[in-house]
């Protein structure tokens, strides 16, 4: 058997949150491409249906369930529906998250609700999904949890309180999962650097990657193979750890800010 055969996910059921677009959609398609059956969740139905169609067009199986990860009863219902459809869950990808009101505000301007919503969206949602799915993953004989954090989970930025706190919380939540459920469940993190998700304004804001060591921004499709890797038998001893895909940003400590680094790059092209 070649080492590459371990990438096969046939017979596995993967739940992907935030699967309606961008990174979540790219990861769902990659998991389906590797043979997994998909449970796609997000709040916006139209986008979920699109992702489901794309999975089915590629010959995969997809169940879509609209769900708000910040609401634990909505999450519990979603996981139960996944179980009634497929009978088991093997892989959980906690990808839902992103910008909420209050982000980028100075500390004194952040309202209580803005803080709570930001943490609920980017941290508590992953707890809700993990809590609901883990008993099923254990019942299936073990599996994988993949949490999507960010460079902001390891480094901070000026006036970025909510997102950095939530994403750093997700890093340590993952380590606690790893400590608790090893060796039956492996819990690891994906930390994307600057990925504009096709948004031209974001690309421009990040100067098209000019200040990223590799000189470019990331493409959502580049995260697909990474999620398959972490969901596969190739990473059976990897636990509680992050793979950072950021074009060298964190290695030098000046990204992902999108602005000129304190120390100029050797070749500022």
């Amino acid at each position: 058997m070649s080492v590459l055969d371990k990438l096969k996910l046939n017979g596995k059921v993967a739940v992907v949150t935030g699967a309606g677009r961008g990174l979540g959609r790219a990861m769902a398609l990659a998991l389906a491409g590797a043979g997994a059956d998909l449970v796609l969740t997000a709040r916006t139905e139209a986008q979920l249906m699109e992702t489901a169609d794309l999975v089915r067009d590629g010959g995969g199986a997809a169940l879509w369930i609209s769900c708000d990860v910040t609401d634990s009863s909505s999450v519990n219902t979603m996981i139960e529906s996944a179980i009634s459809e497929y009978g088991h869950i093997d892989i959980l990808v906690n990808n839902a998250g992103g910008a909420t009101a209050g982000m980028g505000k100075t500390l004194t301007d952040i309202a209580d609700d803005e803080w709570r919503v930001g943490l609920d969206t980017n941290l508590t949602g992953a707890m809700h999904c993990s809590r609901a799915a883990i008993p099923h993953i254990l019942e299936a004989g073990g599996g994988k949890i993949i949490n999507v954090t960010s460079g902001f989970g390891f480094r901070a930025a000026r006036d970025n309180f909510i997102y950095t706190s939530a994403k750093a919380g997700l890093v340590n939540f993952t380590r606690a999962l790893a400590m608790t459920y090893a060796p039956d469940i492996q819990a690891n993190l994906i930390a994307p650097g600057l990925f504009p998700h096709g948004n031209a304004a974001m690309s421009e804001f990040w100067r098209n990657g000019k200040y990223t060591p590799m000189g470019r921004l990331g493409e959502d499709e580049e995260l697909g193979p990474l999620v398959v890797l972490l969901a596969s038998g190739l990473t059976s001893y990897m636990n509680g750890q992050a793979i950072v895909l950021d074009g060298g940003g964190l290695a030098g400590g000046h990204a992902p800010t999108g602005f000129a680094p304190l120390v100029p790059l050797p070749e500022d092209s």
Binding site: S2, V3, L4, D5, K6, L7, K8, A30, G33, A34, R175, A176, A178, M179, A182, P183, G193, P213, M214, G215, R216, G218, E219, E222, P225, L226, V228, L229, S232, G233, L234, T235, S236, Y237, M238, N239, G240, Q241, I243, V244, L245, D246, G247, G248, L250, A251, G252, L265, P266, E267, S269
Partner: protein
């Protein structure tokens, strides 16, 4: 997805193929489609046999390759090895530095010569190989490359009696980051695998210390070498084209513990 991870057409050199991790990585790269030259390093006398047996395994997979024994900290040896790889395989896109000189001794009893030897082999060796391979990979018309340095959890955590070894391993992690930044726009990626306690490692120690270790580890067992090698295939493949300057830890959660 299998095709995307394929290493077909890539030429690899794995230094340190007589240790369990290096050997597993060399074989995994070959299984994924790469041609793989393997080298082993001093001081063990039976290393050449180990290298030959690893090369036999690579040939059995219908891949090209050769085996050579070198002195890891010798510039001329390392340069000649890279030249031979380019000459026999037709080029070099992948370099894996997996050789490892284990060393444990209380610091007051450590001679400076011993310290220098550990640093020279475990940190100087990867530098020499990166430099020689990097010169090739950065040259005009070359498609670039991916370099993987195998380091240890002892590059991130200290250990009593490990002053020299831990210092060298920590050096490898930052060698990785610095080269990654320097070469990011030249198409050469440099990453490290931070290996946990693995079967076949010399530092896994005697039966008693091994039993203690297994009690402490979240998995209650050491890693198998093939569990380290899987990450090497990912880092070697073009699917990780945006990944550089990183340490990917494969340690079963050992570093997550307080």
């Amino acid at each position: 997805m299998r095709d995307k991870f394929s290493l077909d057409g890539k030429r690899a050199l794995v230094i340190g193929a007589s240790n369990a991790i290096g050997r597993a990585i060399a074989v995994a790269l070959a299984e994924a489609g790469a041609d793989v030259a393997v080298a082993t390093t001093t001081p063990l006398k039976d290393e050449e046999t180990a290298a030959n047996s690893c090369a036999n395994e690579i040939w059995a997979l219908d891949r090209k390759g050769f085996a050579q024994a070198i002195e890891a900290a010798d510039e001329a040896d390392v340069n000649a090895l890279i030249e031979r790889t380019v000459a026999e395989l037709g080029g070099i896109e992948l370099l894996v530095n997996a050789h490892d000189l284990p060393f444990a001794k209380p610091a007051p009893e450590t001679d400076f010569a011993e310290w220098r030897r550990v640093i020279d082999v475990n940190l100087g060796g990867p530098f020499l190989a990166c430099r020689a391979a990097g010169q090739r990979m950065l040259s005009d018309g070359h498609p670039g490359g991916s370099i993987i340095n195998v380091a240890s959890v002892l590059g991130e955590r200290g250990l009593a009696n490990g002053a020299a070894y831990c210092s060298a391993q920590a050096g490898v992690l930052n060698l990785t980051r610095a080269l990654a930044l320097e070469w990011a726009r030249g198409g050469v990626r440099v990453n490290a695998i931070g290996a946990g306690w693995t079967e076949g490692m010399a530092m896994a120690g005697d039966d008693e210390s091994r039993a203690k270790l297994e009690r402490y580890l979240p998995y209650k067992r050491l890693a198998r070498p093939d569990e380290i090698a899987g990450i090497a295939v990912y880092l070697a493949s073009d699917v990780s084209a945006y990944l550089t300057g990183q340490v990917v830890w494969v340690e079963g959660g050992a570093l997550s513990h307080v």
